[in-house]
C-alpha cells in the first residue's frame, strides 16, 4: 500500500509538472505609429561638370527642371539646389559632360538615411536633349520611390491661337519646347493621343466640314478617317488603340459611334432623341462615360462599350460636361457649369465622393496625366485661356502654357 501510495504521488506530481498550453504563447506584436501627412524631404544638389568646362547655365536649367517636376509630385517637399542637402531624406545628384554639341548626363538618386543609391542613369545625346533627359530622370525618381513611373516625358497637345487660327501644338509637361503640329490656317479642335503616344486624332475644318483626322507625329503623315456629313468630333482612342469613339451627326442627331482607327464604322452606341457627346473610355476599355441631356440637362452617364447598360453618374449640378476616366479607373474628372463659368470636379465611378477641384476663373477640358497623378486643364483665371496643371486632388495648380494668346483643350500623351 505504501509503495502504491508513493507511486500515485509520483504520478500526480509528474502530471502537475507537465507544461500547460499557456507556456508556448509568444510575445505580442508591438505597434509603432506616427502621424501621416509628412512628405519626403527632397534635395537637389547643384549639377556639376563630369569633365571639361563648367556650364552654369545648363546646371541651372537642369535644377529648375527637377525642381518643377518633382515639386509637382505630391510625395516630395523639394528644396532648391542652393538650400543644401542637410536633413533631406533623398538627394538627387547630377553631373554633365559636354563635347561640342554632344551631352552626357549622369543622374543619381541617393537615400541619405539608408545610405543607399536608389537609382543611377546615364543619358547621352545632344545638348538639345537636355530637358528630355531631365524629365526622363524625374520619371525614374518617381518609379524608384513610389513604384510608379512619372509622366514627365509625356507631351501635352493643345489648341492654340498663337498663329491667329486654332492650330494644334505639343509642348513638354512644364510648358517648355512648344512645337507646331498643324498649320492649315483653319480651325483644329479636340486633339487626343493614341495609347502609343505616336499618333493624334483631331477634328479639323480645313476641308469645310468638321472631319476627323489621324496624324503620325514623327512622320507627319495624316489621314482623314471620318468625313461623314455633319459633325465628326470629340473623338477618343480606345485603350487598345484600334477603336475610336466619336460623336457624329450624320443621322440628324448628335450620337456616339464606334469606328476603327482606319475610319470604318463599327457600331452606333447611342440611340436617343437627346444630344449625346464627349465619350471617354474606362482604362480597361469595357465602359464609356459620356454626356447626355436625355433628362433635360447635360449630365454624365456610363454605358458598356457596346452601348448597353446605361446608368446615370452625376445627379447634382445643372450642366456637367467633358468627362475623362482616370488611368487608375477609380475617378472621373469633368467640368460643371455654375456661377458664370465652369469648375472642374472629380467623382468616383459609383457616383459618390463628388469633389470640386478648382475655384478661380473658368476651368474646362480636364484631362488626366497618363499615370493618374495630375490633371491638365484650360483656365481663364489670368485673362486669356491658358493651360494649367494640378495634382489629382486639386492642389498645386500651376500655369504651364507661356503664350499670351488663347491655349486650350490640353491632352497629355503617354511617355514618348
Amino acid at each position: 500500500m505504501r509503495i502504491q501510495f508513493l507511486l500515485v504521488l509520483l504520478l500526480c506530481s509528474l502530471l502537475l509538472a507537465a507544461p500547460g498550453p499557456s507556456g508556448s504563447v509568444e510575445e505580442g506584436v508591438l505597434d509603432v505609429t506616427a502621424a501621416s501627412g509628412r512628405k519626403l524631404q527632397f534635395a537637389i544638389a547643384p549639377s556639376t561638370a563630369l569633365s571639361g568646362p563648367a556650364a552654369p547655365e545648363l546646371a541651372r536649367e537642369l535644377g529648375e527642371l527637377f525642381a518643377f517636376d518633382l515639386g509637382m509630385a505630391a510625395e516630395f517637399e523639394v528644396s532648391p539646389p542652393s538650400a543644401g542637402s542637410a536633413g533631406a531624406d533623398l538627394v538627387l545628384k547630377s553631373s554633365y559632360a559636354m563635347n561640342g554639341n554632344a551631352l552626357t548626363l549622369e543622374c543619381r538618386l541617393v537615400d541619405q538615411v539608408l545610405n543607399r543609391e536608389l537609382s543611377a542613369k546615364r543619358y547621352t545625346g545632344g545638348l538639345k536633349d537636355l530637358r528630355r533627359m531631365g524629365h526622363a530622370f524625374a520619371d525614374e525618381v518617381l518609379r524608384a520611390v513610389t513604384g510608379r513611373k512619372g509622366p514627365f516625358t509625356g507631351k501635352i497637345a493643345y489648341v492654340t491661337k498663337r498663329s491667329g487660327n486654332k492650330e494644334i501644338y505639343v509642348m513638354d509637361c512644364d510648358g517648355q519646347n512648344p512645337q507646331r503640329v498643324t498649320n492649315n490656317g483653319s480651325i483644329n479642335l479636340k486633339p487626343d493621343f493614341a495609347p502609343s503616344g505616336k499618333e493624334i486624332i483631331y477634328t479639323s475644318y480645313k476641308k469645310g466640314n468638321p472631319d476627323l483626322y489621324r496624324r503620325e507625329l514623327f512622320t507627319g503623315l495624316e489621314a482623314r478617317i471620318s468625313s461623314r456629313s455633319g459633325l465628326n468630333a470629340m473623338a477618343a482612342f480606345a485603350p487598345d488603340g484600334n477603336r475610336i469613339a466619336l460623336v457624329m451627326t450624320k443621322d440628324g442627331n448628335s450620337e456616339i459611334y464606334l469606328i476603327s482607327k482606319e475610319g470604318k464604322e463599327l457600331a452606333r452606341l447611342t440611340r436617343n432623341a437627346a444630344i449625346e457627346v464627349s465619350p471617354a473610355w474606362s482604362p480597361d476599355g469595357s465602359k464609356i462615360v459620356f454626356v447626355s441631356d436625355r433628362f433635360g440637362k447635360p449630365q454624365l452617364f456610363v454605358m458598356d462599350a457596346d452601348g448597353g447598360n446605361v446608368r446615370r453618374l452625376t445627379t447634382t449640378g445643372a450642366y456637367n460636361v467633358t468627362p475623362r476616366w482616370s488611368p487608375r479607373g477609380d475617378r472621373i474628372v469633368y467640368a460643371r457649369q455654375g456661377g458664370g463659368g465652369f469648375q472642374i470636379h472629380a467623382i468616383d465611378v459609383d457616383g459618390s465622393n463628388d469633389t470640386q477641384l478648382t475655384t478661380a476663373g473658368s476651368n474646362e477640358h480636364p484631362r488626366w496625366s497618363p499615370d493618374g497623378r495630375f490633371i491638365v486643364f484650360g483656365s481663364t483665371r489670368d485673362g486669356a485661356e491658358a493651360v494649367y496643371l494640378m495634382r489629382a486632388d486639386g492642389s498645386a495648380q500651376t500655369r504651364i502654357s507661356r503664350s499670351k494668346v488663347s491655349d486650350s483643350h490640353p491632352t497629355w500623351s503617354p511617355n514618348w
Partner: protein, 254 residues
Amino acid sequence: MRQRGKSRYPGPGGMFALSFLIHLAIFFFIAWSQALTAFRPDETPVTYVDMVTLPVASPQSGTPAPAEKGDSEPQAAASPPAPAPPAPLTLPLKKAQPKGKTQEQAPEKPAKPALDEGREFSERMAKLERQAEERRQAEVLERLKSKGGRVGMPGAKGSEAGSDYSSYLHSRLKDAFGQVMVSQTKSPQVIASITVGPDGRISEYKVEKQSGDPLFDDAVARAVTIAGRSLVPPPGGGQFKRVFRFRPEGVGVR
C-alpha cells in the same frame, strides 16, 4: 483451469504498476509533443511597461520615474502600478504606492456619505488593499529577481528606474518613425522583426509583411536605421529580438 487463470492476474499492485507505466508514457508523449517550448528560459515575460517615461536620451543612466510627470500620467493610470525598484526593492514601493492609492481614492471620498462608520470602514479597506498590493508587488519583484528577469533600464542591473528593453526599443522606433513617416496609401502597415545584437546594433531587420506601398516600406526602413544608430545593448549581453507593426496613426489594424 482456475489456477492457471489466477496465476495470470497480476494483482492490484501489478495492475497499478501497469497503469502507472501507461500514464507515464502518456505524460512523456504529451510533454514531448506539445509543450517543450515552455521550457525555454529566454521567454521570461517582462511584466511591466512604462514606455512614455523612458529616459530616451540616456537610458543607461536611469531617470527617476516621477520626474516626467506630465507624460506619464495616462500610462500610470492605465497600467498596473509597476515598480521602479531601487536596490532594496520593496522600500520605495511602500512609499510610492500609498501615494498613488490615496490620490486615486481621494475623489471617491466626498461622493460617499459622511458617516463616521462608513469612513472608518473605507479607510480600513483602503489600508488592507494597500497592504495586499504591496505584498503582491513585492512577491512579483522577488519572483522576477529569482528568474533573472529584465528589471530596470536596458544594460542596467535592475535597480534603476525605467523600463524594459522592448519599451525602450519601441520608444526609439516611434521617435524615428515620426521623423520619416510617409505613405501614399490610406492604411499601410509593415510587420517586421528587429534583432538587436549584443553590441547594440540592429543585426537583423526582417520584413515579415510588406505594405504594398513602397513609400511606406522605405519609411519604415529609414525609421529602423535612424533608431539603430544609438541603441544601448540589450541587457544580459545577449541579443534581443522583437516583432513590431508599423502603421500610420489612427489607422486600425487589419
